[in-house]
Symmetry: C2
Subunit: 438 residues, 2 copies
Amino acid sequence: MQEVNSALPAGNLASLSTDDLQRFYAAANERYTAFKARGLKLDSTRGKPSADQLDLSNGLLAAVDEAEAKGGGDLRNYGGGVNGLPQARELFAPMLGAPAAQVVVAENSSLALMHDTIVYALLKGVPGSKAGWSTEPVTFLCPAPGYDRHFAICAQYGIKMIAVPLTGTGPDMDVVEKLVAEDASIKGMWCVPKYANPTGDIYSDEVVERLAKMKTAAGDFRIFWDNAYAVHHLTDKKHEIANILEACAAAGNADRAFVFASTSKITLAGAGLALFAASPANVAWMTRNMGFRSIGPDKINQLRHVKFLKDFAGLQALMEKHRALIVPKMNAVLDVLAHELNGRGVATWTNPDGGYFISFDVREGCAKRVVQLAEEAGVAMVPAGNTFPNGNDPKDTNIRIAPTFPALDGVKLAAEGIALATLVGVAENELKKRGLAA
Amino acid sequence: MQEVNSALPAGNLASLSTDDLQRFYAAANERYTAFKARGLKLDSTRGKPSADQLDLSNGLLAAVDEAEAKGGGDLRNYGGGVNGLPQARELFAPMLGAPAAQVVVAENSSLALMHDTIVYALLKGVPGSKAGWSTEPVTFLCPAPGYDRHFAICAQYGIKMIAVPLTGTGPDMDVVEKLVAEDASIKGMWCVPKYANPTGDIYSDEVVERLAKMKTAAGDFRIFWDNAYAVHHLTDKKHEIANILEACAAAGNADRAFVFASTSKITLAGAGLALFAASPANVAWMTRNMGFRSIGPDKINQLRHVKFLKDFAGLQALMEKHRALIVPKMNAVLDVLAHELNGRGVATWTNPDGGYFISFDVREGCAKRVVQLAEEAGVAMVPAGNTFPNGNDPKDTNIRIAPTFPALDGVKLAAEGIALATLVGVAENELKKRGLAA
């Protein structure tokens, strides 16, 4: 790695003399251009496991033999119910924080489960609804930055989204409480409560309790609790958050939360299992709706998971192996960013205790340009703005860095590309502010 | 098997003297009661493959090794698109009658694909729609008797259903053409075009052409072409029907048909693949909608199918093995029914060239009672009426016999139970007609 900082005028870009700023820009741009000329193809788009992470679960492929597939009511056939294999429901119950009877194990995509839950709500309503939600305007609260695919489902079905700021320990509850109390069109709220995508927020006990207790103008308000990173620790802290289902029940709002999770980032990302948990009334509603859609999920793949993971302790042991593969990549990105950007006043970023992302905030008004520069230099990223509802980051600040998929060398290079794009993009911005061309 | 016919007064029940009718009823009831006393548990509810049929595809379980799963873009990971594995789309293209580019391979349930297609249509509309279908009343034409789960989706989403008679070569097209021309609320029509569930209808070329050509008041009318039994022949005739996608395109209605199929009754009923084909515009619409729901299907299971079936010839060879297991069961039922019921004027039934069912029509007003009697005698059946929209068989006539799941001895016993229930139920009815108590 070249020593960009030592070769360039020191200090925060905003405090540099114009002369130094122009020298800084020229030097940064020279490095950026050299990086671009290497013609690299690096992928920092998505929270995808790497091939060596997937190798951890190769044992899944042959985990079920003929006798096992045939056993227990012949799992190869139709039947057995839409809520999934009993052994699988037992296995994942501790992860979801619900008794197995309140757990549904489905196909390979928790996004699909969330989508379908919204579809059922729109067309039929949820327990407590007077009609399908689609008969009136619907609004969702969206803690942001957040997961673009959550927001895309809302946009697709004409659901209005209100962005709510995150605090590091979850959404700003003063804002949330005020909105849900006043606006009966607010039927739902997205939450990624632990190691949030992309900010790494860990919802505090107070936030969980306020979410469970708050008064909502809509009698059929639902929290879509996407606990996608429930067991995806990156430190020894292994944060545990309050149990949303229990908190809602204790507050007299037992039906308030739909809990989702998946094994996509535990076993095989494309061939895992999607998981749902909720109150008995919500589970009965969900499974009744699912029963019109399908005779049941792929029970063989559920048995594969039971055989391979064995129990919750087995699952947690597997997550330790993932951690060992991910942490060096996270650290590599953090090292490059610190080395290249510290002291420049161009960006801040998170150092998450779990999950798949680093949330990277560049100077206001620069995110789109930085992503464009990174893309042009061969680092594929999701478009800036995607972490906000309707792709609209009002301050044009947030960029999601996904360091898990490439090999370690690629991760380091991608981080360097992002850092260089940031230096160039923000320096351009500072020059423009001073009325100078980049 | 006891010789019920030889032990009973000969002839059509309607033409028996009352004396003979009473003796007939007493004798039939005696045999029925003896059957019931055996306390059997027989399953004739659903078109489920038997364990020995499922054994044919045990090779699927270990069909994919680690290297293969990893190969071709790492099928274990996210990605690859919602339309499925290219090799799988190639494999199933001949079965669907569409080029691979117009084929989508999904999860384990074609019912789910049909459900989701209707959901997308209701909430977003289809190509050619001015709005989502749910903004106005929606009607579907339902050739009946038909598949209860099709009708259940309509009922669930408030879609009005109009039953259309079947002729043996498909729906009565005079009725269909008149209805769709006059009523713009008719947005859809269910068709099981070959070896129809339960009647065994094989749509004639004329019917396919008239469906493709007919003028519809709704500009966004769609045929839901559930070709569930496309390769499920039971005779050497191996009927081939006209290609609905080509017929629609030739008629200038390229976007009229959505084609569905699955491998549920080819490989493993609970762990197979669901298939979709349509015009390029419809496929683009479908995959765009699917893309909000999921990142993609389980590609490993798709590769399992490619490895196990190899090609369309391999699939057809497998179907011959299914045929060899199913035909003796079909014949056993037909033998029992002929033996017990011929000449009695109590029922008629089909002798299908393919598919999974015998459609069994008892005397008008007797189906519910016959199913009740069969159930009480230990033969589980789907409720009478289920083969009609809203569970309403206007003549109370149709019963679906599903002979594939039990072993051959069980199939024979179930058929005997159904035959005895029919004799008792219809004799009761005849006695009542004459003002006599059973």
